[in-house]
């Protein structure tokens, strides 16, 4: 029989232009290919996450995907109550014999776009626009800076955060304003890791004739010619794979950290940014990519010690 599947998005919702949306896309792809449906709900608070998870578990679902680290505790608790139901948690690590925790090495992907940014920049001043000042966002920033500095040690990275409330993910005006102010300080490439606010950043980059870097999904198509690349975080693949494994009976519990090697993160090169990525840039980025995969270069995860080496 077909597996019964479900997704619980976190407070950002399935259209957050970030990992929730990516998860939704992966599940949709699975649905299209297999014609197997899935149930989806959004949990606006941690309490609701638990409620939703339990609600879905009671429906005897086979696999429930929980998107976002905010659901960690809820997954842990509900997984214990329903040992027959399988869970996959994105961006967090939960204990349990029936839980597969998937985290991503955002720092590795960010490193690559940092390399590309440092090379593409003429002023050697790079910008970073984050949503809220939390460890996850700092991991992006830190990887980005490592990549940039490894390429061009004197490069300067200016960082700004949009805000401190949930509104910080949906404030394109502020996202744009931060980019503008960075441009006025000489920045010419900006990496936007701020959900919907980041769209304002990319839009401003296009308007001002500067370069933007997208995040999570491949955002190159948004403003072809002015988005240098995107740091893709393949939550979609993670979900798609989980669902597939469930269908094929190969699903396994455990903890997976997906980096470049595992195809969890990457940079995006397609027809939309082909012209921006010169052969030198491409060569350098691919080189760095290989070094990381081979373990020659070790990108430090901000979250490991709560500090950034550069």
């Amino acid at each position: 029989a077909d597996p019964k599947l479900g997704i619980v998005y976190d407070a950002g919702g399935k259209f957050d232009k970030s990992f929730n949306q990516s998860a939704f896309e992966g599940a949709s792809r699975f649905k299209k290919e297999t014609n197997i449906n899935f149930i989806e709900v959004q949990a606006s608070s941690d309490t609701q996450a638990e409620q939703m998870l339990r609600g879905l578990a009671r429906k005897n679902l086979d696999l429930i995907a929980s998107i976002g680290f905010a659901q960690t505790q809820a997954v842990q608790k509900v997984a214990k109550e329903f040992p027959k139901v399988h869970f996959v948690l994105i961006d967090g690590v939960a204990q349990g014999a029936n839980v597969n925790s998937v985290t991503f090495k955002e720092e590795e992907g960010s490193y690559l776009v940092g390399v590309a940014a440092a090379m593409a920049s003429k002023s050697k001043k790079l910008g970073f626009v984050g949503g809220i000042d939390i460890p996850l966002i700092r991991a992006f920033a830190c990887g980005y800076e490592q990549g940039a500095k490894a390429t061009y040690p004197k490069v300067e990275v200016i960082q700004n955060m949009v805000g401190t409330t949930a509104a910080a993910w949906n404030d394109p005006a502020k996202g744009g304003e931060l980019a503008r102010s960075q441009f006025e300080r000489g920045v010419d490439v900006v990496f936007a890791v701020a959900g919907g606010s980041g769209l304002g950043t990319l839009q401003t980059a296009k308007e001002k004739g500067k370069l933007g870097i997208g995040v999570d999904s491949n955002q190159n198509h948004l403003y072809p010619g002015s988005i240098l690349t995107s740091m893709v975080k393949r939550v979609d693949n993670a979900i798609y794979d989980s669902f597939m494994q469930m269908k094929n009976g190969t699903w396994k519990a455990g903890v997976t950290a997906k980096g470049l090697k595992e195809g969890g993160v990457d940079w995006a090169l397609d027809e939309n940014n082909r012209k921006l990525i010169t052969p030198e840039i491409e060569k350098r980025v691919l080189g760095a990519r290989k070094d990381i995969i081979d373990g020659k270069v070790k990108v430090i995860d901000y979250r490991a010690g709560n500090h950034c080496p550069v």
Binding site: G13, K14, F15, D16, K17, Q21, I132, D133, I158, Q159, N160, M161, G163, T164, A167, N170, D171, P172, A173, K174, G176, E177, L178, R180, S181, E184, R185, G196, L199, G200, Q203, E207, L222
Partner: protein, 323 residues
């Protein structure tokens, strides 16, 4: 850190660019509240007009149609608020908050229904308002200071920015030197006196709300068509409440309210500049703490310098002909 690190030029330009959202909404609130109707529903009207103006500008590929449509919707919401506050004599705070909450939900549902992009409208592309380039900007560009002043601080903004700044003297004149303003103030201060003097209080308040609705729509249009180039759910991000704050801060007077808006704009811009910068004495302030700068400044200014705020006396009380 040196003075140059402050990037004062960038801060000033940023202030000019950020203030219009607040100025339009605060001036809107001023009209409503000077007539005696509390307008806590600015946020909802901004959001509604942002959505409608982006959607219409996209559909017609003409930003002006977008602005006009936003105006119509924001005015219609203001009329609903007026009907609640004036005709139904309902609680004005409740009416305003209801509009805020309802619009937060409805704009998302509609945006999703029409565009299927997760509560976002498509990018407006060319259907945005143009920036005004003052004649001869290119020529003076390289002259130190003056070039910057002319081409970047004064010139180079969207038409709506100029409208916002032009609005301030205009509102001042209307409030203090026109018949409309005289009656408006009388209705907000002592509607019974206005009524006894032959002023139709309800009509005056409806008119005030209409003006408020129209002015507020520019705020939304500016956010969507000028600043962002698309609509995004909940993109007003508290601008309506901040505008209301600027108005109270300015003691319900146009020029002081305007200064309040500039202050928010200015400290918002300063906050961007000092994020991550090594400051004298305090050193590097963590990003999340930097975010509170504009708000802390407001509280300090309010507590330290300003005299007691005096709201229009009849603010919030429906006009009932009885003692």
């Amino acid at each position: 850190m040196t003075f140059a690190d402050l990037h004062l030029d960038s801060v000033l330009v940023s202030t000019v660019r950020n203030a219009p959202v607040l100025i339009f909404a605060a001036m809107a609130g001023l009209f409503a509240e000077r007539s005696g109707v509390i307008d806590i529903g600015l946020e909802g009207k901004i959001l509604a007009s942002a959505f409608v103006s982006a959607a219409v500008a996209f559909a017609t590929q003409n930003p002006w149609y977008g602005v006009a449509a936003g105006m119509a919707v924001s005015a219609a919401l203001a009329m609903l608020q007026a009907y609640v506050a004036i005709t139904q004599k309902g609680n004005q705070l409740v009416g305003g908050i209801a509009i805020n909450i309802a619009m937060s939900g409805l704009t998302f549902v509609l945006a999703q229904f029409f565009f299927q992009q997760g509560g976002r409208t498509p990018d407006l592309g060319q259907a945005r308002l143009f920036d005004v380039v003052l004649p001869g900007s290119a020529a003076v560009e390289h002259i130190p200071f003056l070039g910057w002043l002319y081409a970047h601080l004064i010139g180079g903004h969207s038409v709506l920015v100029y409208l916002a700044f032009a609005l301030v003297p205009l509102v001042h004149w209307v409030i203090y030197h026109s018949r409309f303003g005289l009656r408006l103030r009388a209705c907000g201060e002592n509607p019974h006196a206005a009524d006894a003097a032959g002023v139709n209080v309800e009509r005056q308040r409806y008119l005030a709300m209409l003006v408020a609705g129209v002015l507020c729509s520019f705020s939304g249009a500016y956010l969507a068509i000028v600043q962002s180039g698309f609509f995004l759910r909940d993109m007003s991000a508290g601008a309506g409440y901040l505008a209301l704050t600027a108005m109270v801060f300015g003691n319900w007077r146009p020029v002081y309210t305007f200064l309040g808006c500039l202050m928010f704009g200015f400290f918002g811009a300063v906050q961007i500049q000092i994020e991550g910068v090594e400051l004298p004495v305090v050193g590097r302030i963590p990003g999340s703490l930097i975010q509170m700068v504009p708000y802390v400044v407001t509280v300090i200014v309010l507590a330290g310098l300003m005299a007691k705020s005096v709201a229009p006396k009849a603010l919030g009380t429906p006009f009932v002909k009885s003692r």
